[in-house]
Symmetry: C2
Subunit: 332 residues, 2 copies
Amino acid sequence: MLLRTDLPATMQGLQSIFQEQEMTETIHDTEGHGYLVTFIGKNGRFGVLRAHSHGLVTFDLQCCEGDDVAQVDNLLNELEKKMKSLLHGNIKRIKRLPALRRGDEVDRYWPTADGRLVEYDIDKVVYEEDSVYQNIKILHSQQFGNILILNGDVNLAESDLAYTQAIMGSGKENYAGKEVLILGGGDGGILCEAVKLKPKMITMTCGNVLDSLTGDCYEVLVEDCVPVLKRFAEEGRTFDYVINDLTAVPISTAPEEDSTWEFLTLILDLSIKVLRPTGKYFTQGNCVNLTEALSQYEEQLGTLSCRVDFSKEVVCVPSYMELWVFYTIWKK
Amino acid sequence: MLLRTDLPATMQGLQSIFQEQEMTETIHDTEGHGYLVTFIGKNGRFGVLRAHSHGLVTFDLQCCEGDDVAQVDNLLNELEKKMKSLLHGNIKRIKRLPALRRGDEVDRYWPTADGRLVEYDIDKVVYEEDSVYQNIKILHSQQFGNILILNGDVNLAESDLAYTQAIMGSGKENYAGKEVLILGGGDGGILCEAVKLKPKMITMTCGNVLDSLTGDCYEVLVEDCVPVLKRFAEEGRTFDYVINDLTAVPISTAPEEDSTWEFLTLILDLSIKVLRPTGKYFTQGNCVNLTEALSQYEEQLGTLSCRVDFSKEVVCVPSYMELWVFYTIWKK
């Protein structure tokens, strides 16, 4: 709420509402930073009412599980009504935000890569474990299905065929009879879609996570991808498509400060080595808003031992709640 | 944070951090609802530290615009470190949420239809006005482009071609030479896409909002759609496609309590009347999670004066941050 008037007088006009709710008031000395009063009520309710000198009034209400929601709504409605009346409707904006739920068994807040607060419709913890590498969670979302979350980052949900299609070239490639190398992709999404396209052979490097490590047209190497790529490069083995599903572009650090960038360039260099002259390398970038990280990645592409060109595409991956950039890279 | 230990003692162990920050402490009597202490600091900082008896500890920090973000982060880091040390790492979960920004010129919080808190990357207010019908906002999102927000509901963004395609039959229809009736759609998205498909004629009913009210193959009637539909029904004028882009399925009330449902059924009945026997009626439903509202809508379809069948499709509309249901309805 935004108001322009005598703050303490207006705030005191709200007292009766809290008295009716049997909430005990404490007025705090803010040393000149507006008017601040807290209220403690029954059932563990705690309110913070604050009026800033520039006219912003905030009210935060903490309630415990099992509190009477209708009663809480009523308190907020009364407050809003009284404020309007005290200020004769002279309010620029009123906004009530959905409650933040804390300490629930299911955590519904998984911020986007660009740092925005988003609440998911998580209703169940399907799996949670700390591996030696990372924290692994599978949470169930009502609309997105199961979501894989690694170290707090939403990786992939059952709703996200758009991710898999994008990192395979968005349906513009003919995989029939082709040789494909998948780096990572342990969730199995790319492999599952790729085998449908009748490639000659898919080689995949990832952890021992899939039910079957070999199939009619695929083989999973339970190995780190770097030695595998080095071996293939030495042997002169090449591929029509290399799909890097290992990690997103790092966002928080400059290339010279982060070994992830070094890793990324190493993989890229080796991948381009095992790519046929007409082959294509596909990978994810990051959130479209992280323009600096994406620019840095594109600069890195200019430093590879082999000269490459690239194109990018912005794709909506449903469970990400942000638009994502995918790259196609080829030899010049 | 979740902990199991002597709460007051642990909380008091955190005092030194607040003292270092020159924050003044007030301990509140919660009448048996855990330990609650507030802190007032310089620059208008205000903290609420609360430990619930079941082990949840929350810390809320209010900061004013222009506060030193690095210093605030440092305070939170110190708190986390000290908590870990006091509890000997016996913590089940630690979670820090992005700050909620309140009172900004741009409002970044536009909850989903199913009531979840989501933050948008809004960076500019392009337009805001109260019409006689509703509050109209156009806000600019970094990733979604301009977003039309009506009465606080995200209606459509420049990123949302998926919405337009879905409400036109998801590319499975042949519009060439067909007669099309669009109800609403004043944002122009459907009209813009439909004219590309070389229909015989598009008739659209909406407000006087488009640059041009007639074109080679379209005509906009600046009229309420109900009298138009009634007139067409009387004249025996029929269409191959009727696209209803007026409103989503109401979510908060039962059909017998809300005139919106009555309006919806009236429009549906009239639309089916002007639909050719092989024609199709397209419309949006609502968020896929609002299963009750969607079921009610489907029940309403069974009460129309003409018997109809329907199919539905779940579509990801980027700026909605939730999956959306679209209906195709036809005469049995």
